[in-house]
């Protein structure tokens, strides 16, 4: 399969901060590819390099088979970019924004209407409204329409769901699924772990380095240690107690429970319970669970940090 995005050894430094260090990545055509990373991991820098807004210090990038330095002009007319910050004209109406972006891409709204029809019908009742007065979810939909209006082959979405409510987020991902059916390659970044499982493949970005690239199932497969969800009356005390347990792997709060990974391969809930009973904790409940993508990410982050300190 041809690759839609090819990144080889890209490094980008801002004065003293290294935003990306030796990043390599290959995304196939038609893939829905997720980049997961905390704030400041380097996601936006990577996007800006791919959409030719920024030059890498080292390494090279190829987008849709075109070199990001030599053929930047060719790339620009074939990608749709949606920056993390809402950046449409707030003082233009929904309709005017869409028409403006269609014109600058030398096309018309009518020409590619069927591509956005699905999303735009939800915006239609507000088409005379100024973009600045839309709700967060509506803004995202409009931005997506504007990025799609010239039927790009590659869609670059930088944190499209940040600051959007849960319902709109789910809708947004459903829309991405439908766009994928139209054979548009989608590269999407997000700080939300739950969204990672909706991608074909994901890359974990941490401090400018890619920790792992795999399918969501493959990523969870990386997690081999036994994992338990533990509950008690005092979560904070529970965390400190579990962390001081000699066999503790990663221990972190997960909603109302604490996820605890043990470094031994075979261990039963009773053993942990026995350890915790020595403390003053009450209402202890322990349950063995299957690792999710977030558990894997936490574990990857932890080992990465430990490797750095060694």
């Amino acid at each position: 399969m041809k690759s839609a995005v090819l990144v080889e050894g890209v490094t980008k430094k801002f004065k003293t901060v290294t935003a990306l260090s030796n990043v390599s990545l290959k995304i196939s055509e038609g893939e829905l590819f997720g980049i997961i990373g905390a704030d400041g991991a380097g996601k936006t820098t990577l996007f800006r390099i791919l959409c030719t807004l920024m030059l890498a210090d080292e390494g090279r990038a190829e987008v849709l088979g075109l070199d990001s330095l030599k053929d930047y002009r060719g790339i620009r007319s074939r990608i749709g970019y949606m920056p993390g910050r809402f950046s449409l004209y707030t003082d233009l109406s929904v309709e005017e924004n869409l028409k403006f972006f269609a014109t600058v891409f030398n096309t018309t709204v009518e020409e590619n209407y069927e591509l956005i029809a699905d999303i735009y019908t939800q915006l239609e009742p507000f088409k005379k409204r100024m973009a600045g007065q839309l709700s967060g979810g509506m803004k995202q939909k409009l931005a997506l329409c504007c990025a799609l209006i010239h039927r790009p082959d590659l869609l670059l979405l930088d944190e499209p769901t940040t600051g959007v409510d849960a319902v709109s987020r789910r809708e947004f991902w459903q829309m991405l699924g439908r766009l994928k059916e139209q054979e548009i390659t989608i590269l999407v970044s997000t700080p939300y772990m739950d969204e990672a499982s909706l991608c074909d493949r994901v890359a974990f970005l941490q401090d400018g380095t890619i920790l792992a690239v795999d399918t969501p199932a493959g990523i969870t497969g990386l997690f081999t240690a036994p994992l338990f969800a533990v509950r008690a009356n005092d979560k904070h005390k529970l965390l400190t107690h579990l962390r001081s347990y000699p066999h503790a792997g990663s221990v972190y709060a997960f909603g109302s429970t604490v996820h605890y990974a043990d470094s031994r391969s075979s261990i039963s809930t009773e053993e942990i319970e026995a350890y915790l009973l020595d403390s003053e904790l009450q209402d202890i409940k322990i349950e063995k669970i299957e690792p999710g993508i977030e558990d894997t990410f936490m574990a990857l982050m932890k080992t990465d940090k430990e490797n750095l300190h060694e």
Binding site: Y72, I79, P83, F86, D91, F100, V104, F105, N106
Partner: protein, 373 residues
């Protein structure tokens, strides 16, 4: 072309939709034109003056009447001692004290010469000079017309004098409005052009839309044309409005050609817009852009010869004003409107403006980059 056309349409939509911007563009210039051209005047009238008549004779009274009747001075009080007179000056109840000493009439009747003292507040040297000029005129006239008629006058017949009769050309009645309005029109056009264009691109940077624009295949020349053309049009529209007001409300003469004014204004707008765009590309926020634009605006205005004559500046400052586009346009406007100068007479300043325009637009276009480091 279609892209530029649509970009223009978008800019105008945004400008006219901006409720804060419209008054700035159309109302502010009107107010400024009306207020500035009436307030900014070198006329010194109704100078408050204090009389210290220690002679109290009909002749001394006659002299003081010459002052009050001249129209330049207004009697605000009398004093009897020099310390009182000083108090009046310090308290700013008078800018001039006329002291007529005791024996003034007696001296003159005897055929001798008498002295009067004039104390002028010279905080503002310019006004003091004007006041002194007025008082000299009055006293000279007094000497010429009155003293020879006195009975004991030694000078029986008037001496043959060289009499200077002056008449002012190009502004015969010395109407200051005629002199100020052409210059103020320049300031207005500059203000609108520099600030609006300076704020515009940086605003797109601030709200992040510049990124969206930069990833489009839109070419640099398209973007810049689309950004500058609206303000070029607004600037010339503003000038038209100003010229109409100058004609209708102030009756400022227009001896030259309107076409010439528009030709110069068209070039001048490119200078201003190039500068605005350059500021826009060098700054990251509207605040920074505003501050820089303001800085240049103040320097340009003060060194334009609008309020203070360039000839009275020190030599180095005079040379500096050659680099000031506002100076050249003010100069051209006055010459064309009041003197009817043609293109040949204004060739030098026009050439300088054209060179400025080419330089600034080139610089600004080169500074604008679609890719950041």
């Amino acid at each position: 072309m279609r892209v530029i056309g649509f970009l223009l349409q978008k800019e105008f939509l945004q400008i006219f939709r901006n409720k804060g911007m419209l008054p700035i563009i159309f109302i502010m210039p009107l107010i400024q034109l009306v207020i500035l051209s009436n307030a900014a005047t070198f006329d010194v009238r109704n100078v408050p003056f204090n009389l210290q008549d220690l002679d109290r004779t009909s002749l001394s009274e006659n002299l003081s009447e010459q002052f009050t009747g001249s129209g330049y001075f207004q009697l605000t009080g009398e004093s009897s001692t020099s310390s009182q007179a000083l108090d009046v000056l310090v308290g700013r109840n008078a800018d001039l004290v006329l002291v007529i000493p005791e024996g003034f009439e007696k001296e003159l009747m005897r055929g001798g010469s008498a002295k009067v003292q004039l104390i002028i507040n010279a905080e503002d040297g310019f006004s003091a000079g004007v006041i002194q000029g007025y008082t000299n005129d009055i006293i000279t006239a007094f000497n010429r017309d009155l003293i020879p008629q006195l009975p004991g006058s030694a000078v029986a017949a008037p001496q043959p004098d060289i009499i200077v009769r002056s008449s002012a050309w190009y502004n015969p009645e010395l109407v200051y409005v005629d002199y100020m309005v052409p210059g103020i029109l320049v300031i207005l056009v500059t203000l609108v052009g520099l600030f609006l264009s300076g704020m515009n691109v940086v605003r797109e940077k601030e709200i992040g839309t510049i990124d969206q624009i930069n990833v489009t295949p839109m070419r640099r020349y398209q973007f810049i044309t689309g950004k500058l053309l609206p303000f070029w049009i607004i600037g010339l529209g503003e000038l038209t409005l100003g010229l109409i007001i100058a004609r209708v409300a102030f009756h400022v003469p227009m001896l030259g050609s309107y076409w010439l004014i528009y030709l110069v204004a068209g070039i001048y707008m490119l200078v201003v817009l190039g500068m605005g765009l350059l500021i826009s590309t060098l700054t990251d926020s509207q605040q920074q852009a505003m501050f820089i634009a303001w800085f240049f605006m103040v320097i340009f205005t003060l060194m334009s010869g609008l309020f203070t004559a360039i000839e009275s500046m020190p030599h180095w400052a005079q040379n500096m004003t050659l680099a000031n586009p506002v100076r050249h346009f003010v100069d051209i406007m006055r010459r064309v409107m009041l003197k009817g100068s043609g293109i040949r007479e204004i060739a030098v300043p026009l050439a300088i403006l054209t060179a400025d325009a080419a330089l600034l637009i080139t610089l600004a276009v080169n500074r604008y980059r679609k890719v950041s480091d």
